[in-house]
Amino acid sequence: MLRQIEGSRAVAETVALCRPEVVCAYPISPQTHIIEAVGAMVKEGTLAPCEYINVESEFAAMSVAIGASATGARSYTATASQGLLYMIEAVYNAAGLGLPIVMTLANRAIGAPINIWNDHSDAMAVRDSGWIQLFAETNQEAADLHVQAFRLAEELSVPVMVCMDGFILTHAVEGVDILDQATVDAFLPPYEPRQVLDPADPVSIGAMVGPEAFEEVRYLAHLRQLDALERIPVIATEFEELTGRASGGLVRAYRTEDAEIIIVALGSVLGTIKDAVDIRRELGERVGVVGITSFRPFPGDAVREALSGASQIVVLEKAFSVGFGGVLSTDVAMSMQGEQYVMRNVVAGLGGRSITRRALEALIADAVRGDLPALTFLDLDHDAVDRERDRMAKTRRSGPSAENLLRDRGALSSSYPRSES
């Protein structure tokens, strides 16, 4: 049923339709509304049977999910940013043990400086953890991806992270069609674990493995992710046949048929990019968009196919590897080996900075003129950066850069100016 609903609420209601048996809750913005709503459904009895555990940290949240999943229960949690980093040891462990936990990641920047707003630094920090990472473009897709995530995770015994942009999606109220229970039940069979803690058939899970077999165990995890590359489109197709909605899949192309320039991105910014592309198309510029839904496993072949024919590829990403540059762009470049093209990397939207259609139009114009440098930071205030560099050069104790920049931009009271002696 189509309803005007907050993204978090849509996800919570959809997760409940997936009949999770153990849900672990620890608050962190901007995912908190999801876990609050699930908690209320458990407490009022509309989601049952389900154990809702209020834990003392994100590390405990993922650890409880590990124990529950290894005991054969469908397990779910949600986190963001610092919370994901706090649980990172358990995040790797869940993947290493092959436990099909599903987690929502409400993408948020990582401090310091502390910042609650959206970017993709958190997801990138765990891209090598062995989790499948799916990025939602809209709230409808975020909701739908959770149903597909449980199916995919349990088929392959691999944990799945559904990434949705913090605030931009989680807190946006828009029309979302929430599935009904019968449809979800038809799509998502009960969880049949591949390994389970059962006194009738005891197994040791999490045994120590030395050099004699470690590489094989890790390679098997890689193969399961490659299996996911096969299964993700199949599951998306089945979902579409059942619901009539195209959600998920590996990559999605928009107006790329004859495109000379293709912009590649993850998540909700794709909507703004499409608007900008529509406008530039009216000016006769041959520009298109490729959105990547499955970031891990990375669909190299599908990306290559979607980008073939473009002479310039602009990878726009809300994260970067400090001291190097783009993360997504590296993966795209690896997929495009042997092709003739120019790659441009744009880092944008860090810590929630708005990525406006106007800025993207200008970016496309630059790309058309061939003026885009190899690495651009969209809307960066170079003057403010230069002034801080000057302060640092002049004074040894120049103070915390974050505070200095806030004062520089007038966002902080300058009643106690630091002397520039």
Binding site: E21, V22, C24, P49, C50, E51, I53, N54, V55, E56, S57, F59, A60, S63, V64, A65, I66, G67, A68, S69, A70, T71, G72, A73, S75, E89, A90, N93, L97, L197, D198, P199, D201, P202, V203, S204, I205, G206, A207, M208, V209, G210, E212, A213
Partner: protein, 339 residues
Amino acid sequence: MTTQPVHFYQIGSFAVGNRLLSDDERTVQSSPNRANSIDSGHRACQGCGEALGARYALDAAMRSSGGQIVAVNATGCLEVFSTPYPETSWRIPWLHSLFGNAPAVATGVAAALRVKGLHDVRVVAQAGDGGTVDIGFGCLSGMFERNDDVLFICYDNEGYMNTGVQRSAATPPAARTATTDVVGPEPGNVFGQGKDLPRIAMARDIPYVATATVADLHDLEQKVERAMSMRGARYLHVLVPCPLGWGSASSETIHIARLAKETGLFPVFEAHNGVVTDVAKIRRQVPVQEYLSIQRRYAHLFGKKPRPDIVARIQTIADQNIARYGLVEPASSDQEVHV
């Protein structure tokens, strides 16, 4: 069932020999039907107190649950020596996740069993002292606070033995570890630090807290069975001497554990809902020197430059324990002095 004939003799150890007990009071280890939860062939050191404690504790838990337990293990000696690839010593369902999360993983197992209606299957979580009092403390605290249905057993060998004998918050004062070297004016571990986990656990008012040592395995088994008869968060702290880390002879493990109790350095007691309900009295009080001098981790207190001052400070700790828990029976009630 084969049983050994009863011989009425006793070595001079104050140990109650198994053979003096009736069949149903005998240790589960004397039964051919014991579970062998942790089977022979594992790679623990000779004289390992933890392997002994775990064997008795888990088989007792298996007996009292009718073979229906799931074990969760923190990283540490017990995990490493029991599961060298491709072997495992575990004949019970067993899950190892990480060093610091065993209590939370156990919470997850308990939640899954509850949601599936498997009320007869019980959860036992185990960790060394590092995994309990240090890196696992946050998760343990959460498990206690929620009163999750888990029996958590800490096998306390007073340091990080698996990584090469480093200090933990359970390492006693003056003890030599690789990170509290015997140099400087205050050799070994410092005084006035460390966490007394049984008392912290009692402060949570959880249903059951008990301590035990591998010197009295009947007592350990009985405490496990008592814990298994209850629901909610239960905590059992077992002193398990480590020949490698303590610098003691492999044959001395039981003896040293007994001396820890008989000196008063390791009080053996049990508590229900935060209140101490039973204390194992000291049967023959011994000075701490007798306990310390047979462990090389304390050799710097007795060598060419002995440190009786430090030994005296350790004796003070033992005396404080004796006073706090009433570990020594007054000789006779009419000798008590009322002021």
